[in-house]
């Protein structure tokens, strides 16, 4: 921590929040608000004269409320920067008549009640997101009585009580009588691995943290009996099993089973835990002096804003989604953004540090290259056909299109470096004036034409997104999963690229069945582009129905890159559906589409490519 404070190349902005991020990979503009601390942090020597005279006493957050601090305070003794901060919410007032004692006491005149927030506009090439997590609040698990029994504490509160720098200087006592407990029970998985309350995932660190806590207690108080109630002890890391074994060797009892509830003896304030030991099948009641709830880790509740600024998506567990869970674990889907620590998933210090170094190594590839190359699959707006409707601006998941302004004659503009090439804008454009480089409309028509050129009744045309569904097909192949041969895949970068006209074109050319397949919502490589896929397909279903074409002939599936099995199953189901489509039905569809249905939009794209198609 100290190294950060004194490193010449690190500009440390504490008490600060990112308010806006614009730009793109290699070229981000970031505005930061540094909230005032009302103290000149460079001049403050942390002498504590101000704190001594401050008359306001409030609970100390750092000590989990076990002790108090003043309204002017230093967060903790080793804080960096080593400077006091004035908590204006609790200060008696900036009016010198109201108080002003701290300003009088400060020899260096560091305190300025009129100090204002500062703004910084930063230009950076990369952004590393390390906003962390927060411990689970066990209030809702009322059976453990966290809010009812003082001697039930969380693992974070345990840390403060056992710490030499804590409120009781490391003399571990229980809150009700301030006596060192003779027995302590730890309850694991509080908030973790539960589909009903808390979170469904394993929080990764709680088992080993409890093992560590039991060893600390044993070290400080050899006669103290620790009991750990658990589902599974996950001691999977280097040196972890050793520590777990040591904990058992020194006499810590591990009981496989979580207590159903906790009751308190109103006189002694001792706690009774009833649990079934699932290894012996016996139900036993344990009396202990104190209970520690090993709380899980959950995503930060205030992370939504920064996620939106960086166009990041959460996975189903609420942590941020990586570019690839295995192969790009520290890269964000937004290029130039990297993850370090618990913002990505719960992890311990070692893994956080490892991931941070990995993130920097990845980011340094970009910084050291000095320039960034963008794959030439970006969108191009053909202004002459644009009607300023602004739909492209609204649908772009990356905010890569700048708004149009009809009055000023400004067309929407693609910021090429921010465009990831999903093609949602091209598919949604109301005048079809957007084309995708290397993934042109005409190229898709050409592919569909070729697929349906011979025996169209035998074919299923399947548009599959590059990242998930096409890769799911690859996975089926690698796994040698056999399925009917009738399907023909057409690769799109994103299912959001699949224009309604592509589908209609396939039907017009005699396809009995069309599939559009993309990533599951939480896996979408283009943030939320699949939501546009879904909306568009739903609209197309309605349209087909109105035209007298069975909507079932257009199928929509979400298949991930890992779901080879599902891919093969869907292909088998599609073949069943295809067999039920009759020649008359297809002929009728072709007639309907060639007579009645021709969107105005298709003309523009057709015109642009007419020269090339023979």
């Amino acid at each position: 921590m100290m190294d950060v404070g004194r490193h010449p190349r690190i500009k440390l902005l504490t008490n600060s929040e990112v308010e806006n991020v614009t730009g793109f990979v290699g070229n981000f503009q970031v505005s930061v608000r540094k909230k005032t601390r009302y103290i000149d942090e460079d001049a403050c020597t942390a002498c504590s004269e101000c704190e001594v005279v401050c008359p306001v006493v409030v609970p100390d957050e750092y000590q989990e409320g076990f002790s108090s601090r003043k309204a002017i305070y230093i967060p903790f003794p080793q804080a960096v920067p080593s400077s006091y901060v004035l908590d204006m919410d609790n200060c008696l007032g900036t009016n010198p008549i109201a108080c002003g004692k701290c300003a009088d006491a400060c020899d260096k005149d560091c305190i300025d009640y009129d100090m204002e927030d500062e703004h910084f506009d930063l230009e950076v090439g990369t952004i590393t997101l390390a906003t962390g997590m927060q411990p689970y609040d066990p209030t809702e698990m009322d059976e453990y009585g966290y809010t009812r029994f003082e001697n039930v504490i969380t693992s974070m509160e345990f840390e403060r009580l056992i710490c030499a720098g804590g409120p009781v200087e490391g003399h571990f006592v229980r809150p009700t009588d301030r006596k060192t407990p003779k027995s302590v029970a730890f309850i694991q998985c509080v908030g973790s691995r539960s589909v009903n309350r808390g979170v469904p995932y394993c929080s990764n660190i709680c088992c080993m943290n409890t093992v560590k806590d039991t060893l600390l207690l044993q070290d400080h108080y050899p006669d103290l009996q620790s009991k750990v109630f658990y589902m599974d002890i996950r001691s999977f890391g280097k040196g972890f099993e050793d520590l777990y074994r040591r904990s058992k060797e020194v006499g810590v009892q591990y009981i496989r089973g979580l207590p159903g509830n906790i009751e308190e003896d109103p006189v002694t304030q001792n706690l009774y835990l009833t649990a079934e030991n699932t290894l012996t099948g016996k139900v036993t009641t344990h009396e202990v002096d104190m209970v520690v709830l090993a709380v899980g880790l959950v995503p930060r509740q205030d992370s939504e804003l920064i996620r939106q600024m960086l166009t990041l998506s959460p996975t189903s567990d609420g942590f941020v989604m990586e570019a690839h869970p295995k192969l790009k674990p520290v890269d964000a889907p937004t290029r130039g953004v990297y993850f370090a620590g618990c913002v990505e998933a719960p992890k311990d210090i070692k893994d956080s540090v490892t991931q941070a170094s990995a993130a920097v190594a990845r980011a340094n590839i970009l910084l050291n290259a000095g320039e960034v190359k963008i794959e030439a699959i970006t969108s191009v707006i053909h202004e002459e056909e644009c009607n300023y409707c602004g739909r492209c601006v609204r649908v772009c998941p990356f905010h890569a299109i700048t708004p149009a302004n009809k009055k000023a004659g400004l067309y929407p503009k693609v910021v090429e470096a921010a465009c990831s090439g999903c093609g949602t804008c091209a598919a949604e454009c109301t005048t079809d004036c957007i084309s995708m480089r290397h993934f042109e409309d005409a190229q898709y028509y050409a592919q569909v034409d070729a697929i349906l050129a011979e025996d169209p009744m035998e074919k299923i045309v399947a548009f599959a997104c590059n990242w998930c569904s096409y890769a799911g097909g690859d996975n089926a192949g690698t796994s040698r999963l056999q399925y009917p041969h009738n399907v023909r895949l057409v690769r799109t970068m994103c299912s959001g690229r699949v224009d309604e006209d592509f589908i209609m074109h396939a039907f017009r050319k005699g396809a009995p069945l069309v599939l559009v397949s993309g990533c599951h919502f939480s896996d979408c490589h283009y943030i939320d582009a699949v939501t546009w896929t879904q909306q568009r397909i739903e609209k197309t279903w309605d349209k087909l129905e109105k035209m007298g074409i069975r909507p079932e002939r257009l199928q929509l599936e979400w298949i991930s890159a890992a779901e080879g099995q599902k891919f093969a199953r869907v292909m088998r189901e599609l073949e069943e559906l295809r067999r039920r489509v009759t020649k008359e039905e297809v002929d009728n569809t072709m007639r309907i589409l060639s007579n009645g249905f021709k969107t105005a939009t298709k003309k523009a794209a057709t015109k642009r490519v007419a020269a090339v198609i023979s």
Binding site: V4, V18, V124, K238, I349, A356, E371, V372
Partner: protein, 204 residues
């Protein structure tokens, strides 16, 4: 240079390279028949079969054919582009062709490996996939990948243990770093922990 002109393209000249992938493809798909079929497709001027197109001899044949037959489009019928698109893009670029003028047909993962008991239908499907790729290749245009300079500074958001490590690593590798922390001090949750596993030492 072939294929690098945009408007005045005189003639589309496509080379199709059909890969056996040992027996991975040829064990199911009649690759000779697919190659013969490819010769009948519009704008295809040369078709070659390779045992392993991705290996050096296979790649060299592509490069030689580009020069000999003045090719301005290349279709490789082999495996998934997710494995070898980069390989063949680099290959054609080395022969002077714009890398975006290369197209693949996935006749392994999406064909021979998943229709192992249906050799004839699999062969017909491979032909379809080649026809589809050739039709797309006829419309491919050369592309230039845009480049942008990179601002030589890094932002780290969050000053917990991960953010601290990231900031120090950036700084020690010579870059200017901004470390933004919401609280009045860095340290995060780590700073509130007494001892840490597995070393049982102090967190701060």
């Amino acid at each position: 240079m072939n294929g690098n002109g945009t408007n005045a393209e005189p003639e589309i000249r496509i080379g199709v390279f059909v890969c056996d992938c040992g027996l991975n493809i040829a064990g199911v798909v009649d690759t000779v028949a697919v190659a013969e079929y490819a010769k009948t497709l519009p704008d295809v001027v040369v078709v070659q079969g390779n045992k392993y197109t991705c290996a050096d001899p296979g790649q060299n044949e592509i490069k030689r054919a580009i020069k000999e037959h003045n090719l301005n489009r290349v279709v490789v019928a082999s495996c998934t582009p997710k494995i070898h698109e980069h390989t063949f893009r680099t290959c054609v670029a080395e022969a002077g062709l714009n890398p975006y003028l290369m197209e693949m047909a996935n006749i392994r993962e999406h064909c021979s490996w998943v229709h192992q008991q249906e050799k004839q239908p699999a062969t017909r499907k491979a032909m379809d996939l080649v026809r589809s790729s050739v039709n797309r290749a006829r419309l491919l245009q050369p592309q230039v990948e845009p480049t942008f300079p990179v601002t030589q500074a890094a932002l780290v958001i969050g000053g917990g243990v991960a953010g601290i490590q990231a900031a120090l690593d950036f700084a020690d590798t010579g870059h200017q770093v901004y470390l933004v922390e919401k609280e009045p001090s860095i340290g995060g949750i780590m700073a509130a922990i007494d001892k840490t596993y597995p070393t049982m030492d102090c967190s701060i």
